[in-house]
């Protein structure tokens, strides 16, 4: 039977970001809209179509993933950091909840923020770029959920580990930004010279963006030699499981949160 306290903690996490929607939902929408307008509309016409699809449509899946990753990560990491900082994490630690339940509640809370952001960005994109269509809704949702889940779980890990807000922020700057940018948000990895193309294959975010591109704009990327939709899906699930496992292990052991 599911522990009702676990559901309450998920509810708390979701209520928190919904109450702060101006800080938790709006920024992702605004930055995505700006990217679409600046890169897609203004520069896109000069860049021309990518792999047979208009540049503006081509970047939407990547922009969505970039925002989803950021939002999911930020939600759980900052929620835990706040709880640590103000010590009310103790209220949660002394409750009859297992480490697994606590870590999953924080992860699922962040997952919801990622998915809601992703859906809103896709809707906004449709509004700004009418030609953009989603070929497989089910698969798109699966990517939104798994990728949000994976990076929300990573947020839990970093949230527990971090001693300061700066550490949480620097993870975004030093890890997510470069991996997203180099993961082919704005171009096809096929455009990179040999060695860089190979290096890109080791970037998990590349596979997640590719998977999302496959789910949304469909057949185009399938033609590309470096994109296996199956591998994208496997990797998204694999990271979801690995990060979830580490996060709950940390809570079970009380790593850095219990003395």
């Amino acid at each position: 039977m599911i522990n009702p306290g676990f559901i309450v903690l998920i509810k708390r996490e979701v209520m928190r970001f919904l109450a702060l929607w101006k800080q938790t939902i709006m920024p992702g929408l605004i930055s995505s809209a700006l990217y679409i307008i600046v890169f897609g509309e203004a520069l896109g016409h000069r860049i021309g179509p990518m792999e047979g699809i208009s540049y503006i449509s081509y970047i939407i899946p990547g922009l969505t993933m970039m925002s989803v990753i950021n939002m999911a990560y930020q939600n759980s990491s900052s929620s835990i950091m706040q709880a640590k900082f103000l010590k009310f994490i103790e209220d949660i630690l002394i409750a009859p909840l297992s480490g697994f339940e606590i870590s999953m509640a924080f992860t699922i809370g962040g997952m919801f923020r990622g998915v809601i952001n992703g859906i809103l960005i896709l809707l906004l994109s449709k509004l700004l770029v009418p030609e953009f269509t989603i070929s497989n809704y089910g698969l798109t949702l699966i990517y939104l959920i798994t990728v949000s889940w994976a990076f929300s779980a990573l947020g839990v890990i970093i949230g527990i580990y971090a001693r300061s807000w700066d550490q949480i922020g620097s993870f975004t700057t030093f890890v997510f930004m470069p991996l997203s940018m180099l993961g082919g948000v704005f171009w096809s990895v096929n455009m990179l010279p040999g060695i860089w193309k190979t290096i890109s294959l080791f970037n998990p975010i590349y596979w997640m963006i590719n998977g999302m591109r496959h789910a949304t704009i469909g057949s185009v990327t399938e033609a590309s030699i470096n994109s296996s939709p199956t591998l994208s899906l496997i990797l998204s699930f694999a990271f979801t499981i690995i990060f979830s496992f580490i996060a709950s292990y940390m809570f079970e052991k009380g790593y850095k949160i219990k003395s």
């Binding site: 522990n3 009702p4 306290g5 309450v8 903690l9 509810k11 708390r12 209520m15 928190r16 109450a19 702060l20 706040q82 709880a83 103000l86 010590k87 009310f88 103790e90 209220d91 949660i92 630690l93 002394i94 409750a95 009859p96 909840l97 297992s98 009380g254 219990k258 003395s259």
Partner: protein, 305 residues
């Protein structure tokens, strides 16, 4: 035999493999008692509480709450405990009513029950008007009340209060005392740590004194005072009889003042009076001075508070 609510056996805690905060303590806290855990700073009180509640990992030994092991059976043991930590800690994202309801929810109460309990707590602690405020917007005294309300919202059998009246004004302190006595009278076990020994003396029917990771004494405050305290009966007499023999009492004479040391002044006073009468000594004035728990505490721990 009295039922035990918290049973601690050979409990040890070593931090980082170096500092031994608890050196294998044994402690039985009777069900329904108002139990004081007293000790100087760094004695191990908060560590012991942390282990009972799951905030501190155990090194060795065991703790049971109403028969449930705090490690193996933690979901059951934690449901029975409410903790009000020394340091105020609030979820500042929500109004205090929601914070209370969320806390009740973590313990498995349904949404409806949780809000009902939250309302009861707000009323009990005179916070109903502040229900929609966040903890940040409240005064220090109100925050402390919310802190204790949080610990009580899921109606625990064992309430643990770590320094509940630190920084609280006298009026609120007495209000809290009355309320805590009421809860205790309703059968709940209360475990209290405090720096105000007079608080323990006023509230607790049993205290354990902990020092340097060890329990050095456990008894009712009155017994501790009788056993270890130094109570005095001072009798001013007329000075005709210079050297009265007042054995077997422990006494000393200085001018016309006889000072008796006794463990139990109420028992010894009548005997002393008759002894003086036997020696035909006229009594001019009698004064008694009773030791406080604080003196006992200082004596036992060699520590100032």
């Amino acid at each position: 035999m009295t039922e035990i609510s918290v049973k601690i056996r050979k409990l040890r805690k070593i931090y980082d493999g170096k500092v031994e905060a608890l050196k294998g303590i044994n402690l039985d806290i009777p069900k329904g008692s108002f139990f004081g855990l007293l000790g100087p700073n760094g004695a191990g009180k908060t560590t012991a509480i942390g282990i009972m509640t799951g905030l501190v990992n155990i090194t060795s030994g065991s703790v049971e709450v109403m028969g449930h092991d705090v490690i193996k059976d933690y979901k059951k043991s934690r449901r029975l405990i409410g903790l009000s930590p020394q340091e105020l800690n609030f979820d500042v994202f929500f109004p205090i009513k929601d914070v209370l309801a969320l806390n009740a929810g973590y313990y498995g109460l349904s949404n409806k029950d949780a809000y009902e309990r939250a309302d009861i707590m707000l009323e009990k602690f005179g916070l109903t008007e502040k229900a929609k405020n966040t903890a940040r917007e409240l005064s220090g005294g109100m925050k402390r009340r919310v802190q204790i309300a949080k610990a009580l919202v899921h109606d625990p059998e064992v309430l643990i209060l770590d320094e509940p009246t630190a920084g609280v004004d006298i009026e609120l302190r007495h209000m809290l005392w009355d309320y805590l006595k009421e809860i205790n009278n309703n059968g709940k076990t209360i475990i209290l740590t405090t720096h105000y020994i007079e608080e323990a003396e006023a509230l607790c029917n049993e205290v354990a004194i902990i020092n340097d990771g060890e329990i050095i004494k456990q008894d009712a405050p009155a017994n501790l005072i009788n056993m270890l305290g130094n109570n005095k009966i001072m009798v001013r007499i007329n000075t005709k009889n210079k050297s009265p023999d007042l054995s077997p009492f422990d006494y000393k004479v200085e001018d016309n003042l006889v000072e008796f040391s006794t463990k139990d002044p109420s028992r010894d006073l009548p005997k002393i009076i008759s002894k003086l009468n036997e020696n035909s000594i006229d009594i001019l004035e009698i004064n008694t001075s009773k030791s406080s728990l604080e003196e006992v505490f200082v004596k036992l721990t060699n520590n100032k508070l």
